[in-house]
Amino acid sequence: MGPVLAGVLQLLALTAALALAYKPLGTYMAKVYSSDKHLRVEKWIYKGIGADPDTGMRWPAYLRGILAFSVVGVLFLYALQRLQGVLPGSLGFAAVDPDQAFNTAVSFVTNTNWQSYSGEQAMGHVVQTAGLAVQNFVSAAVGIAVAVALVRGFALPHSQLRSSGGTPIRTGELGNFWADLVRGVVRVLVPLAAVAAVVLVACGAIQNFSGIHEVGQFMGGTQQWNGGAVASQEAIKELGTNGGGYFNANSSHPFENPTSFTNLFEIFLILLIPFSITRTFGLMVGSVKQGYAILATMATIWLGFVALMMWTEFAHHGPAFQAAGGAYEGKEVRFGVGASSIFAVSTTLTSTGAVDSFHSSFTGLGGGITLLGMMLGEIAPGGVGSGLYGMLIMAIIAVFIAGLMVGRTPEYLGKKIGSREIKLAACYILITPTLVLVFTAFTMALPTPANSMTNSGAHGFSEILYACTSGANNNGSAFAGLNADTQWFNTTIGLAMLLGRFLPMVFVLALAGSLAEQKPVPATAGTLRTDKPLYTGLLVGTIIIITGLTYFPALALGPLAEGLA
């Protein structure tokens, strides 16, 4: 068997595994976010918070909850890093510098996990396990909560729909943020992550709280490596589409990703919730077919990108790869080119940013595919929660375009898409491109940031474009030749991550609130059927065209110039 066939078989196996998990997990999550029972541990937590999980929230209250929780998250994580020097259980590691601590705190709270530090030398056990890994859970739960709130906006008023807490939702209310947050963590993320962590350990990922290991070497002398709660963090890092590695080399490090099986398993974890939540969506709006149409859109783009990536990586254009006889720079033997291609596409089409191979050393076009994946807005299938709400925004844009063609007020899932709705959707899709292009332009215009580049020419520009794209889209992967631990990058990428996470959420929740106020309109013969393949085709086309028009000039200067040289 050749490596190409093996790559295709791995893709098929992964697809089959995701298909098997789709119904049970999607159905389970739908129950989690509408069940009327609180678990005992959840009741304790609500009591501790001092929140009534059965109180319905309108969109401004829901948003305030998210913002308060996130502000506190940033401050807490910042403080942990700044106090590392005096925290016990920190291996004697020093406090993190203020600009880097700000960047890292924002990075993990926004589900980005951009890392301007190297994990093994900078972060001790306490910061990693009680700080960074905690945000891996809760930032993912916040993402799902926002998606669920938007779905409720579409579904309301719906006699079957309940908030987390089981009370019927009144017009204009989106559920209770604290209940959605806690349920996401307790019922979805923690159980799945625990199972996944044990699988990873069984395959060789490390999990201990010992200090620095000093171990003998074959040729004599010793080597030092860092221990830690790696498997438990790795599990939620992938499952929550976070991506922040315990080690600098992320999921290419053998202690994070020891075997070719764990590699596929980690890709599975990345894609598991983002794909399955389309069923949750379908069930909550009362038509699983609507969920399938969204799923088909996501899967089409994902499969198409994987195919393109495998093609360019196996073809290995580029002088260094031609000389080497393969695009193996930055890739591990146990994964090979095929599985590394699947990982790279899956991590950039979601908001994950974990890497099992280094994107900067992909072929010119391969690097371009990772960039384009993020530029699509990470919606195929996207981050946990954020992928679904991003895709639903594009779905609204698509019905709007179709409505323009026939001169009819568009509707989606029984709700009229009027001028308020389309304005909110338009604001949403303008935010990240604005952040990416403005920050890239400023960075390129200044004299010193270019000193951070490892590569020159088109690829050097790509390093900067990639950094801004990754930050604003909350991905977190990098063309890691860029030395991003400077005050400029720590600050600007920190801002890009903050604005790129929370501004879109404001528009999504405002949209959800607006939809939740509306009475549903009955479908007529003139209604565009959004549960059919024709609509999926329209949606894929809309996504590609909008992204292409926005980013083509920037892509032409970077990866296209390199790839077509």
Partner: protein, 222 residues
């Protein structure tokens, strides 16, 4: 105004309490439970899959090492010890630059692009060296025989494996350097060649540390 300040304060208080409680669940209980289960079930693996030879720990089967001669005076890069099977180049690997009371391995890739001059040179030099080092009096390695993994650095810099092709072209040299027969050494490589997991996952591979440990035993016996 006062009202909105106190509302905000109340909300931030709720946020803080939520964070602390969820930290207890996901940052304390979860990792401790996982560690407990993992330490109970897989005591060797949780601590880094250490391997022993001659009664002493010689590394981790998961972490690639360099098999070099000691650095000579005036030398910048150490020369490979040709008695042993060689792993992949480790140009992306570093040592820690913060918390320098330790000398930690700092994992990483080169991040050089396909058109990077330095990378092109590294690849060419590595290829020439692989051809030269592995050609013996009776066996000439052709450049086209050298697989890509032999001349490129991995993502982690710690790749414990090489491709079976790279192991195969080292057989003649290793046999000659150690006074073993080619058949003996080839048999050793074949025994340590692992196919794709379940026939299709990843790529075929040879664990260099385990192969060298077996080689050392073979040399000691003969």
């Amino acid at each position: 105004m006062n009202n909105s300040v106190s509302n905000t304060a109340r909300l931030l208080g709720a946020g803080l309490r939520a964070l602390l409680l969820l930290t207890l669940v996901t940052g304390v209980l979860y990792p401790l439970v996982v560690t407990g289960i993992a330490q109970g079930l897989f005591p060797d693996r949780v601590n880094g899959s250490e391997v022993k030879a001659d009664g002493r720990v010689v590394g981790s089967s998961l972490i690639g090492q360099a098999y070099n001669l000691p650095l000579k005076e005036g030398q910048e890069t150490p020369a490979p010890d040709l008695k042993w099977f060689q792993g992949r180049p480790q140009n992306g690997l570093g040592t820690n630059s913060v918390n320098t009371q330790y000398e930690l391995i700092l994992s990483g890739a080169t991040n050089r692009s396909g058109d990077n001059e330095e990378l092109i040179q590294w690849v060419k030099d590595a290829k020439a060296a692989v051809v030269k080092d592995n050609s013996t009096g009776t066996y000439k390695v052709k450049p086209s025989q050298v697989p890509a993994d032999a001349v490129t650095s991995s993502g982690s810099g710690l790749d414990p494996n090489i491709s079976p092709q790279y192991a195969d072209i080292q057989v003649h040299r290793v046999a000659e350097e150690n006074g073993l027969s080619i058949v003996q050494v080839q048999k050793l490589v074949d025994e340590h060649t692992e196919g794709r997991t379940l026939g299709f996952m990843g790529e075929p591979r040879v664990n260099v540390l385990e192969l060298n440990i077996a080689l050392k035993e073979l040399v000691a016996k003969s």
